[in-house]
Symmetry: C2
């Protein structure tokens, strides 16, 4: 691998680029982005070696797509149209069913590997890119059997230099489970932020009272709406299921409080406390 193209040089694409630089000393990383300012920033920050355009993709050994999931569905087939027979193409978004469906009948389907490297921060853009973001984190690979074996190996070499743990899963299961452990957290956080802001907007001093617990719980409410709206749209059915269950649990908690059943409140919290052990190992 010498020529790697990153499409979307933001938090995820930029962080992948920073890790990939260690793949081999002769590598050249090219950036493509619909936002010219981001592309300039990525060049100045030495995240990429040069700017490129879609027409250049014929020279790629690997293409990594890191754009919002609605854009990915459109761009991915176009990328597959442009590459040569031996190019690896990967996409890294937070939904997998729609992406895989978009290229299931493409004659270059075997050049594509569907991945979800699970890492991130609440920030976005090239300035948010950090080396080592993915180290020790999980990468979900979907429909691995549909990717040419030689190109799977090339992908694994990339994930090895990124330090990722690999898990294999079908797109449907991926989208269902990720709704619980990622998408729902974002909604709970955004709506918590909204509830407090709506109430306290005229009393800014009140936020002096907010401690690190509040900051931690609403951290994800800083996330990019441009990235998250298409995720909720593509994973609507699963996300609605999780949201429904979450609201039910909150209503049950409220009913216990209204009935002064604080024994039940204590029990609900105790039963959830073992999240401690579950979270061990997540950083």
């Amino acid at each position: 691998m010498k020529n790697i193209y990153i499409i979307g040089v933001g938090l995820i694409g930029g962080s992948i680029a920073k890790d990939i630089r260690h793949l081999n000393p002769e590598i050249t990383i090219y950036g493509i982005d619909s936002n010219p300012e981001h592309l300039d920033e990525a060049l100045v920050l030495q995240i990429i070696d040069a700017k490129a355009e879609f027409g250049d993709l014929k020279n790629a050994d690997a293409v990594i797509l890191a754009v919002p999931v609605d854009a990915a569905v459109t761009i991915l087939p176009e990328v597959l149209d442009l590459i040569h027979d031996d190019t690896l193409v990967m996409e890294s978004g937070s939904t997998k069913v729609a992406i895989c469906k978009a290229v299931e009948k493409h004659n270059k389907r075997r050049n594509f590997l569907a991945t979800h490297p699970i890492a991130g921060t609440e920030f976005s853009g090239p300035k948010a890119a950090v080396e080592g973001l993915f180290r020790g984190k999980t990468n979900i690979i979907c429909e691995v059997e549909k990717t040419a074996f030689k190109l799977q190996e090339r992908a694994l070499a990339i994930f090895q230099v990124m330090g990722m743990r690999i898990r294999y899963m079908n797109p449907k299961d991926h989208d269902k489970h990720i709704a619980y452990v990622s998408h729902l957290s974002h909604i709970s956080s955004f709506m918590l932020g909204k509830t407090v802001i709506d109430k306290e907007c005229n009393e800014r001093d009140i936020f002096d009272m907010a401690g690190s617990g509040f900051a931690s719980t609403v951290r994800l409410a800083k996330s990019s709406p441009d990235m998250w709206t298409p995720i909720f749209k593509q994973n609507k059915v699963n996300v609605l299921e999780t949201l429904e269950e979450y609201i039910q649990n909150l209503n049950r908690f409220k009913n216990y409080m209204e009935a002064d059943n604080f024994e039940a409140i204590h029990k609900e919290m105790s039963n959830t406390n073992h999240i401690k052990e579950i979270l061990n190992g997540i950083h």
Copy 2:
């Protein structure tokens, strides 16, 4: 101040003890706790210099109460009964109305200062105590005018060595606002943890998919039910109000999704994004 008594040598009491040690070199810190193991641990960890009992409080220059808020309501009047006329007594729980009411007619009311040093972690017990936990954090003082001026000064000396910023507020406003910026976060976090555990309890591998965002959002679900149940009980009216509004906001988000109104979803998130600026300064 030479003899300081900490009642409740857990996360909060233990962390205060660690800071107070820097107050002056001659200080002796005594510990009182209903849990004998915690008291032994605090001694071994050198958080306290010696164990004590309620009968010893007559020797105290200052008493700091750091117990669950239901216990505080009972213990605080007893402490005031036992101290001499020149002792400062402070309480540090997360609710203030019930505490202040419990001693409003006590003949030693002027010896008492109601405080809420807003800091903590999701851990508990003496092992969770850390030096500097309160540095740069906010301490809410309630009904300051009801405390003897000389004892206010003594308290401020303690808060200065802890590095806290002081804010003054009446108990009613404290309990109302803290419900939004602290108590609600704990419920949202506990119920998020519950929703995911209920769904995924048979598929532990799924938690491999959980990233740092999930960990951050459910962090507070590790908190102690013994500490939090009495808080929700004492602050029931305010907490129910915040919970009602939170559930309404989640339902609105769900309705937008069901109606495929993703423009509204984007707008909801964008409007909440300025939590970024609000959170600047909270660590």
